[in-house]
């Protein structure tokens, strides 16, 4: 028999309307493999609000509630409360929002759900801009990126601020689990998703999901880019469990330039610009390692 490294079960059907090489569809496929059939998903406005298909078609083999852009945190709270009221406690509830729906317009409902420690999983699938509306900048757009609202132009108007650190922000709410996942590492992805499923309370998962359409990258490079983002430290894989940071992958460093130059959205960057990005990324990496070192001491408190 074939030995598969991730579960064989498929709860996402083919025939969805995601673009060629869409990272967000790979993310959903893995998430449902890990969570299984007893899962209810709530999806706000984002690419995934369209990708399941035009009514009556639906690629999701689990119940799905579409909700308004800024409401994911509230929507999953309402589903979970109703399930408790109905005595259906064994169902996993997952919110599935994009980076704009999470880091920008959905931040308030997310923060409130995290603060209440709602017994739900909140996923931010991150393609680093408003892709469904056509590549506008979001709070998760990285330093240096071109988008349609941060065009390069003659004045180098490209994105000047680093990504909003969503895992840190949610972890600061003292939730039991927050982690970063990448579609480039399916086994780690499924492992974290399954771990999240077993924890009760608020769980936040930040999934890196490349977008060929918005990143101006060849569709076949989607997993490759996801892996390069991790190895170049642009998107480190780590988890925060009860306040304790743990970097789950410390790969051999690959040059940031290799990652950037496969994407049209960074094509305008000079070597000098890329050095600026590299400095920012290295600083964040060191900060992460310090957090890991510092919070390790909390282990004693937990015992």
């Amino acid at each position: 028999m074939v030995k598969l490294t991730i579960p064989e079960i498929e709860l996402m059907s083919p025939g969805h309307t995601g673009c060629q090489g869409c990272g967000a569809t790979i993310a959903m496929r893995y998430a449902l493999k890990a969570l299984g059939e007893k899962t209810i998903v709530s999806i706000p406005a984002c690419c995934w609000a369209v990708m399941p298909g035009v009514w009556p078609n639906n690629c999701m083999r689990v119940p799905l509630l579409y909700t308004a852009f800024e409401t994911t945190g509230a929507s999953i709270s309402g589903i979970k409360a109703a399930l408790r009221a109905l005595g259906e406690e064994d169902v996993t509830v997952m919110g599935w929002a994009g980076d704009g729906g999470t880091a920008d317009i959905g931040m308030q409902a997310l923060s409130a759900a995290a603060e209440r420690n709602e017994d739900v999983i909140y996923v931010m699938y991150d393609n680093e801009a408003y892709m469904n509306t056509g590549i506008q900048r979001s709070g998760a757009t990285p330093l240096g990126a071109w988008t349609t609202t941060t065009p390069v132009g003659k004045t180098k108007f490209w994105e000047r601020r680093p990504k909003k650190p969503m895992v840190d922000i949610v972890a600061a709410h003292k939730v039991p689990y927050a982690a970063t996942l990448s579609i480039g590492y399916p086994e780690d992805f499924v492992k974290k998703m399954k771990k999240a499923k077993e924890i009760s309370g608020f769980r936040f998962l930040h999934i890196y999901s490349p977008c060929p359409t918005g990143w101006k990258s060849p569709p076949q490079y989607t997993p490759k880019l996801a892996k390069l983002a991790v190895t170049s430290r642009a998107f480190p894989l780590y988890e925060v469990e009860e306040g304790i940071y743990r970097v789950t992958m410390k790969p051999k460093k690959t040059p940031l330039k290799e990652y950037l130059m496969l994407q049209g959205r960074f094509r305008h960057l000079t070597d000098e610009d890329m050095k600026e990005l590299e400095r920012d990324i290295e600083r964040r990496w060191k900060e992460l390692l310090l957090k890991e070192e510092m919070t390790a001491k909390l282990e004693e408190l937990n015992e």
């Binding site: 059939e37 007893k38 899962t39 209810i40 709530s42 609000a49 369209v50 399941p52 298909g53 035009v54 009514w55 009556p56 639906n58 999701m60 083999r61 689990v62 119940p63 799905l64 509630l65 579409y66 909700t67 308004a68 800024e70 409401t71 945190g73 509230a74 929507s75 999953i76 709270s77 309402g78 589903i79 409360a81 109703a82 399930l83 408790r84 009221a85 109905l86 259906e88 169902v91 308030q108 409902a109 923060s111 409130a112 603060e115 209440r116």
Partner: protein, 398 residues
């Protein structure tokens, strides 16, 4: 029956308890605040078994109520004024999703300038959201209407949300005797929520997906159709409640001495109780006046309005809100119901009581006298800002 002295807000909390709501998601706002406090107390004391979500905003309150309702639980919330406006997007959502969420709104003025007092512009601004809208005149009616509203909303062929509006402070903070109908009686009247569709892991489906223009139109028509059908069911639900309690809400329009009235005054909310009192006084003086209280604004009781017009020589409409650019909403709706009707008496709009300004019996009397003048001499003006502070203001307007 247990007769208790209760504020409108505590009555509202009792109505949620007796309706056995399963999920409450609410956010505090003056003057709704004590509703959510009382519900929280009921839950804390074990008197009410419901999940209470302490959301961070009204927008989330409605989003969570919608999600809970779609999961198969009976959902309830309450709000007021700016809170209701913040919900606006989700009000449309509840309708499109065809979910029987019930909400009590405490009618309050909108800022700026800040005002916490009675005014109908908050709920009038939600007119086109597809919610059934009830306006009540006393605390008993709040209790009765919440229970009846669930009954209508949850019908499998209706599945639309309901909003019950009560006037800030006049009801929310005023104590009145209220009969709290026993739980078993309410249970008999209102069975547990049994939704025709819900999020179910054993029967997975997607709710609210993208629809192309080839069918969106039909889904909208179905909402319109259900709203129209609801008129009949609202009356049926009231009939059944009348048989149990003897309290009569069988008309979408609550007509008081309209049958032989020369002039009829329309309006909604607590000021209509005052108007009924004035009708009795003026009738004693031989003046044939009547009152038509708009108890249900959505669906709009157009047929009933026409019936009233058949007998009246002049119609006045009081609006506790103004639609800037073209008169009060109740006035405009009464007019639109009459335009294609054979009998069209002159109609006049009285803008009154905005921002909680008291509507006194002498004001209503002056309005009736003004209407009797319209009957005899014809219409002088369409819109009158009654009681507008000005030089040489007539005594009866102060």
């Amino acid at each position: 029956m247990v007769r208790m002295l209760l504020t409108g807000n505590k009555t509202t909390a009792y109505s949620a308890m007796r309706s056995r709501v399963q999920v409450v998601s609410a956010y505090p706002i003056t003057p709704q605040t004590t509703i959510v406090e009382h519900i929280a107390e009921f839950i804390a004391d074990g008197l009410m078994k419901a999940e209470y979500i302490q959301v961070e905003s009204e927008h989330s309150a409605m989003a969570a109520a919608i999600a809970a309702s779609n999961t198969g639980a009976r959902a309830f919330t309450a709000t007021s004024a700016h809170g209701l406006l913040l919900m606006h997007e989700m009000l449309h959502w509840a309708t499109g999703a065809r979910l029987p969420v019930v909400m009590v709104n405490v009618n309050r003025a909108l800022g700026p300038p800040w005002s916490v007092w009675a005014d109908h512009l908050d709920s009038i601004s939600q007119r086109d959201t597809g919610w059934m809208q009830y306006y009540v005149e006393n605390n008993q009616e709040i209790f009765d209407t919440v229970i009846m509203a669930y009954k209508v909303s949850e019908r499998p062929d209706i599945m639309l949300p309901s909003m019950i509006s009560q006037d800030a402070f006049y009801l929310s903070h005023t104590v009145e005797p209220v009969d709290i109908v026993e739980q078993e009686v309410v249970d008999n009247y209102l069975p547990p929520y049994d939704p025709p569709y819900r999020l179910d892991v054993n029967n997975p489906a997607g709710f609210g997906s993208l629809v192309m223009p080839n069918h969106y139109y039909e889904f909208r028509y179905k909402i319109a159709e259900a709203m129209e059908k609801a008129k009949k069911y609202i009356k049926e639900a009231a009939e059944e409640w009348y048989e149990i309690t003897g309290r009569d809400y069988r008309g979408l329009l609550d007509c008081y001495r309209c049958e032989d009235a020369d002039v009829v005054l329309f309006g909604a909310g607590t000021m209509m109780s005052t108007a009924k009192e004035v009708v009795d006084w003026m009738r004693a003086e031989g003046k044939k006046v009547g009152v038509a209280r708009i108890r249900v604004f959505r669906p709009f009781p157009g047929e009933d309005v026409r019936k009233v017009a058949d007998g009246a020589a002049a119609i006045g409409v009081m609006d506790r809100a103004y639609g800037f650019g073209r008169g009060g909403a109740f006035f405009n709706e009464v007019n639109s119901a009459l335009y294609n009707h054979r009998n069209r008496p002159p109609t006049k709009n009285y803008i009154i009581g905005l921002g909680g300004r008291d509507v006194k019996p002498r004001h209503i009397r002056a309005i009736f006298n003004d209407l009797l003048k319209v009957k005899d001499e014809g219409l002088d003006e369409e819109f009158r800002w009654f009681g507008l502070r000005r030089e040489n203001m007539p005594e009866e307007e102060i």
